[in-house]
């Protein structure tokens, strides 16, 4: 079989069409001036580009960009205590190490992602940050490189792969414990601080991570043969999807404590996380359901012909295939949840967007509104665009569209 593939490959390579060299003039004529309409469109869009680019440049050169470096720490991690910042960096190291490990052992997309992350941290280290920050940034690249090396050595070893998956799953609670602390060992940060951009990241990761198991159960419930289960799950999914997140956050901020016993009064941050999880679970369920529907009937029939019961069919045959299919959709959901975390400001949680208000309230930085919003926009754009790029690549490698 391997040989066959090889042959197909070489044949394809031999038959690759010759690269045609198109003269510039002809390219212009074909792509910009092929008809009168196109000439007009080209002229109009050139004018548009020139005005926009010039306007932007003129503004950007005169903007007070010093507001960003002066408040960078506040924007990114809020008032997280400086003496505990090493915990944030350590979390970063762990993720970088794991990324590097996966990149080393898998290659392909994962490898590109991990190298890009390491490169970005090196590029950032060149920028004029304080020397301490630069050291930490270099450390990220080192962690990724070490992970890469280990992963490369462990490539193809079975227990290495299992260890990798376990480590990824464990990294989720470990990060939370590291960042927030745990009673007795690490001082708890909790609501003593404002979290800044870190909270947007944590909110999205917690939302997706916790909503995943709930979402899978809801999706299975919605496809259940038992009408009672099906109705309850469908009702939950449709109600949550029918109302805006902001109304759920409103509910979390003023009504959730009314629904809990008098001795349980969760912190606002916890309530926000609960809301995001409950919200995201409904969307997760729909994504997973999409994956479940894509599994051909034959799989069910074959599995039951082999003698598996319903539960085993679901766990061993259907879910592994379905979940693999929905990874890109989950990445997409992560992106939109990540962007939705900016709504936390509505219930007076100081995440990235809301923290800008306190900066603008500072007399020193009055009138820096454009700079701050443009900075936030760029931060979100870079992260979201690269994630959506990854998910599109994944769609190709997983062959989702080809079923």
């Amino acid at each position: 079989m391997n040989d066959n593939q090889q042959i197909v490959h070489t044949v394809k390579e031999q038959l690759r069409p010759p690269i045609e060299r198109i003269p510039v003039f002809r390219w212009l004529k074909e792509n910009l001036f092929s008809s009168w309409l196109n000439v007009i469109l080209t002229v109009v869009s050139t004018a548009l580009i020139v005005t926009v680019v010039f306007g932007l440049l003129k503004w950007a050169l005169g903007a007070r960009w010093e507001v960003i470096p002066a408040n960078l720490k506040l924007l990114l991690v809020g008032t997280y205590p400086v003496e505990y910042l090493w915990r944030v960096w350590t979390t970063g190291y762990m993720i970088a190490f794991l990324l590097g490990f996966s990149g080393g052992s898998h290659g392909g997309l994962m490898r590109r992602v991990s190298t890009t992350a390491a490169l970005i941290s090196i590029v950032l280290a060149v920028l004029p940050f304080p020397w301490g920050t630069r050291g930490w940034l270099v450390g990220i690249a080192v962690a990724a490189a070490v992970g890469f090396g280990l992963g490369y050595l462990g490539k193809g070893i079975r227990w290495c792969k299992r260890l990798e998956i376990a480590a990824w799953i464990l990294s989720f609670p470990i990060s939370l414990v590291l960042l927030n602390g745990v009673g007795g060992i690490l001082p708890v940060i909790g609501r003593r601080t404002t979290w800044g951009f870190l909270l947007n990241l944590i909110g999205a990761v917690v939302g997706i991570g916790l909503s995943f198991p709930i979402g899978v159960l809801l999706a299975l419930g919605r496809r259940s043969e038992l009408p009672a289960v099906r109705w309850v799950c469908t009702a939950y999914i449709e109600i949550i999807r029918g109302v805006p997140l902001i109304s759920l956050l409103f509910m979390a901020s003023i009504m959730l404590q009314l629904l809990l016993p008098a001795n349980i009064r969760p912190d606002l941050l916890i309530r926000a996380m609960m809301t995001v999880t409950a919200f995201s679970a409904a969307y997760m369920a729909e994504n997973v359901r999409g994956g479940l529907q894509a599994i051909p009937r034959g799989q069910y029939e074959a599995a039951s012909a082999v003698g598996l019961n319903k539960a085993l069919i679901t766990i061993l045959i259907i879910l592994p295939q379905a979940l693999r299919l929905v990874i890109p959709a989950i990445v997409g959901q992560f992106i939109s949840l990540f962007m939705d975390t900016t709504l936390f400001g509505f219930i007076a949680i100081l995440e990235l967007l809301n923290i800008t208000r306190s900066i603008m309230g500072n007399i020193e930085w009055r009138g820096t509104i454009f700079e701050l919003y443009v900075f936030i926009g760029i931060v979100f754009w870079i992260l979201c665009y690269s994630m959506s790029y990854i998910s599109r690549r994944m769609e190709k490698t997983l062959g989702v569209g080809e079923r």
Binding site: T42, I49, G242, P244, S247, M251, L258, M339, L343
Partner: protein
């Protein structure tokens, strides 16, 4: 035969009978859910009791007492229920106009992404990728705080766009038609024309169906309607609608229609954001129609317009409508972000009523019920349309 014997025999005890087990499982499941809900409600009752509150909707009849600066005619002396209604109408207003604008943007950009012009294609692509990957709230804040409240000039030296549209820091002023005395007379013609148009539509449709011919009964009906409306316009004495243009008086503009800063910012933000998503949907829909279909249609001898109307559009729409519906729903739900830029939509009015009365549970129920109703109505409407498109295609 054999299987029948086995199931009908009493050899299977009831605790292993799948039918019994299923019923028991469901009853247990429902019991657990009910117990959970009962627990929550019980907590609610206890908490309300300790706080000395009760649940009831009588507060809706109390005077609202807070101002709402736009939308239906409203006084702070009106009751809470009416204030909430004003909020609902404001939400519908921004959602409907936003949906229309977003669809226009989406179609233009979606088609532009498939343009043969390289520059236009790239521009549309940049628009989509930039807009889709920046949080909507950041964009709304940008439109509101940065553009409307900072970048625009004061009322005195407004930016004038052709057609006497004025952009100022206090809002946007546009020319608007206002009803005069003869408006009601003209409305008779309009309603009569509408009734006649519906009759024409039904008749023409049955006629076409009987003849098994494709056609546009809606075009006939529209023509009839427009003719009668126009005739009515000339038959009524005096103009039923008068155009008023915003004119700068001492401190502010008079005449025309005033769109508040928050409304304009919300409208721009929502339609620009949703437009980017719709553009992708439109592009995918058009690409989904296979080339062979178009070539075959041409080979049969259809003209260009006919190919588009009879072959491409029905098939593209079938792909486009379901995701488009969810975008429309998203836009409606996203309009709740209005509260963060001070537009009086239902979320904003609802939370204001809560702040005034302290009725958390009731207001949340009302807000969620309103959004659910709107979502349900939109998806019913779009599902109906979708079903019709499917029938046309077959």
């Amino acid at each position: 035969m054999l299987s029948e014997k086995i199931t009908s025999s009493h050899s299977i005890p009831f605790w292993r009978d799948i039918r019994v087990l299923r019923v028991i499982g469901q009853v247990l499941f429902l019991l657990i859910i009910a117990a959970g809900i009962w627990w929550l409600l019980n907590n609610l009752q206890m908490n309300l009791k300790t706080a000395g509150l009760n649940i009831g909707f009588r507060f809706l009849k109390n005077t609202a007492g807070f101002p709402i600066s736009e939308g239906l005619r409203y006084n702070p002396t009106d009751v809470n229920a009416y204030a909430f209604w004003v909020g609902i109408v404001n939400t519908i207003r921004v959602a409907v106009i936003g949906i229309v604008l977003a669809t226009v943007i989406g179609i233009v950009v979606g088609v532009a992404r498939l343009s043969s012009n390289w520059l236009v294609k790239k521009l549309a692509g940049i628009y989509v990728e930039v807009i889709r990957n920046i949080p909507l709230l950041v964009q709304l804040f940008f439109w509101y705080f940065a553009v409307m409240l900072t970048a625009l000039p004061l009322v005195g030296d407004s930016i004038r766009l052709p057609g006497s549209i004025h952009l100022t820091r206090r809002g946007v002023y546009i020319p608007w038609a206002t009803a005069t005395e003869s408006f009601s007379t003209w409305m008779f013609y309009v309603i009569g024309g509408l009734a006649l148009a519906i009759i024409v539509y039904v008749l023409r449709r049955t006629q076409l169906k009987r003849a098994e011919r494709p056609g546009f009964p809606i075009a006939w009906a529209g023509m009839v309607f427009i003719l009668i409306a126009f005739a009515g316009w000339f038959l009524t004495s005096g103009n039923p609608l008068a155009l008023t243009v915003p004119v700068l008086k001492k401190f502010n503009f008079t005449g025309g229609l005033w769109l508040s800063t928050s409304f304009t910012a919300l409208l721009m933000g929502l339609s620009v954001y949703t437009g980017a998503f719709i553009a992708e949907i439109v592009r995918a829909g058009i690409l989904a129609v296979s080339k062979g279909q178009i070539e075959a249609a041409k080979a049969v001898g259809l003209k260009r317009a006919q190919v588009l109307r009879l072959v491409v559009m029905p098939q593209a729409l079938r792909v486009i409508i379901p995701p488009l519906t969810s975008q429309y729903l998203n836009l409606t739900k996203n309009s709740s972000l209005a509260i963060l830029i001070g537009y009086y939509d239902l979320m904003n009015v609802g939370t204001t009523i809560f702040n005034q009365t302290g009725r958390a549970v009731e207001m949340i129920l009302l807000i969620m019920a309103s959004y659910l109703t709107m979502s349900l109505l939109t998806s019913l409407l779009m599902n109906y349309y979708n079903r019709r498109m499917k029938l046309v295609e077959r």
